[in-house]
């Protein structure tokens, strides 16, 4: 008896089978692109906040490399000034400033505030970027250092005053995450150093924890809020924690931030350690930040 199921036959059938598989594969070859492997790329999260400030606090966003961000920030007087002061509109505190991105992760900024005629400068470096894909990182993180010089005359001109007494320094870490398209949250552990304080009871180094977040309502508008908790027994009893709520409205090259805040100053040493307004009795400023960006160095030609 000749076995029909010998090795040779099996081989032939197998080869024939391969032909059919080959033909079939071609018929079903709808997705040609699957033939070339997609390199896994890192997907960096962008637009965690609309601009580089939540309200007063620095956000995890940086000004992009080669971009100048001109900022005008304004705080009107306290709402409890009543009708006589037109609910604060008679008074104004202003900071004019400019931020510049040296690279996409490193930015510097300068500003001048009318409040105590203060000049300030800062440097901010983003060292972690939230990402998915090849490189996964759950958070974005940055470090910020700023200094400020108060140029109003010393309150006690008769005693010996040092130039260093005009100086203030702030060190801050900013750790944030864009949880979804609509929700971003960040925390900002902060230390403000004051060379000179008013009384013995106040500390030169003030430690605080800022929290800021936003809820995006539409593609071009979001609600922002921030609160800065100052650890106890560091600042005078008249000072309060800073609380601000507002909206961001983006229109092409501008971002308008409109808000209510109990802080008069728009720089760290001021809004962290010297906020006097009380939300509960109308010690609230209406204010706005207007940001306008100018591209100085063309992105594609860098």
């Amino acid at each position: 008896m000749k076995p029909w199921l010998n090795l040779r036959t099996i081989g032939l059938v197998f080869l024939l089978g391969l032909h059919f598989i080959g033909l079939k594969a071609q018929d079903e070859e709808e997705d040609l692109l699957s033939l070339i492997e997609d390199p896994e790329i890192t997907n960096y999260t962008f637009a965690t906040f609309k601009t580089n400030r939540v309200i007063n606090l620095h956000s995890v966003e940086n000004t992009a490399g080669g971009v100048l961000d001109f900022k005008i920030s304004h705080r009107f007087g306290f709402l409890n000034g009543g009708f006589y002061d037109l609910f604060g509109l008679d008074q104004a505190s202003i900071r004019i400033g400019a931020d510049y991105g040296l690279t996409n992760n490193l930015m510097v900024g300068f500003g001048r505030s009318s409040y105590e005629k203060t000049y300030d400068g800062f440097i901010k470096y983003k060292f972690l970027r939230q990402s998915t894909g090849a490189r996964r990182m759950p958070i974005t993180a940055a470090l910020m250092a700023s200094s400020a010089i108060k140029t109003v005359p010393f309150s006690e001109p008769d005693r010996e005053n040092y130039f260093s007494s005009r100086l203030y320094y702030t060190f801050q870490a900013i750790i944030g995450r864009k949880f979804s398209e609509g929700f971003s949250l960040q925390i900002s552990p902060t230390m403000v150093h004051r060379n000179l304080v008013k009384t013995w009871d106040e500390s030169n180094d003030v430690y605080a924890m800022g929290v800021g977040g936003r809820i995006k309502l539409t593609k071009r508008m979001s609600i922002n809020g921030e609160y800065i908790y100052v650890l106890p027994n560091q600042i005078g009893p008249d000072y309060r924690n800073s609380l601000s709520v507002g909206v961001d409205i983006e229109t092409g090259g501008h971002v308008f931030q409109l808000h209510f805040t109990n802080s008069t100053s728009m720089i760290e040493k001021g809004f962290v350690t010297e906020s006097v307004g009380n939300w509960l009795d109308g010690g609230i400023h209406f204010g706005f930040n207007v940001s306008r960006v100018f591209t100085i160095v063309d992105n594609n030609k860098k």
């Binding site: 032939l12 040609l32 962008f46």
Partner: protein
């Protein structure tokens, strides 16, 4: 002996079968611009991928929306966040075929003009498109050029009235690629 010949014939058949020529690129160049008197917007990427199957005339393209680079960083952010919504729709794709693929001989030097028809998917919306393309084969190097115009509104991309003078309704897209033969597997 007869069987050996049969096996041999079958094997040859198999080789021929898998050698149906396919070409690909991973460095496809796609650029687009929007020209209005108010603002000129230009973006470019060099990482589009494409596969061309010469046996069937089928051609596919894909590009990561986020890979487009703009001269202004803010334009790039707005492009991704507000217009293309690249987190939701990460890729733009084209699936189609070369109508007159028979006239195209990529192993012979020359210039070939062809018509490509298919479906273009942008921002999650798929629309049929037709475009002419030019293939140039020179010393084994295959380059392809094509271009098309699309209407922003066709793809469900909303331009708010505030910036409607700055963004053109019709976007001009240019595509360029150097195809390589795919390794036979």
């Amino acid at each position: 002996m007869k069987n050996i010949i049969t096996i041999f014939v079958l094997l040859i058949g198999l080789v021929v079968n898998v050698s149906a020529q396919k070409y690909f690129t991973k460095t496809g160049n796609i650029s687009f611009h929007s020209d209005t008197p108010m603002e000129k917007i230009e973006a470019v990427t060099n990482s589009a991928t494409s596969v061309l199957d010469m046996e069937t005339g089928k051609i596919q393209w894909a590009v990561l929306v986020k890979s487009f680079s703009f001269e202004k960083a803010l334009m790039e952010e707005h492009f991704n966040e507000n217009y293309m919504e690249s987190t939701k729709f990460p890729k733009a794709k084209f699936t189609g075929s070369i109508d007159n693929a028979g006239s195209l001989n990529l192993s012979k030097d020359g210039k070939y003009n062809v018509t490509v028809t298919g479906n273009l998917e942008i921002h999650g919306v798929t629309k049929p498109v037709t475009s002419s393309a030019e293939f140039v084969v020179k010393g084994g190097k295959i380059t392809a050029n094509s271009g098309l115009k699309i209407l922003v509104a066709d793809y469900g991309i909303d331009i708010p009235s505030l910036v409607k003078d700055k963004i053109a309704k019709e976007i001009d897209i240019k595509i360029q690629a150097t195809y390589e033969a795919m390794a036979k597997s």
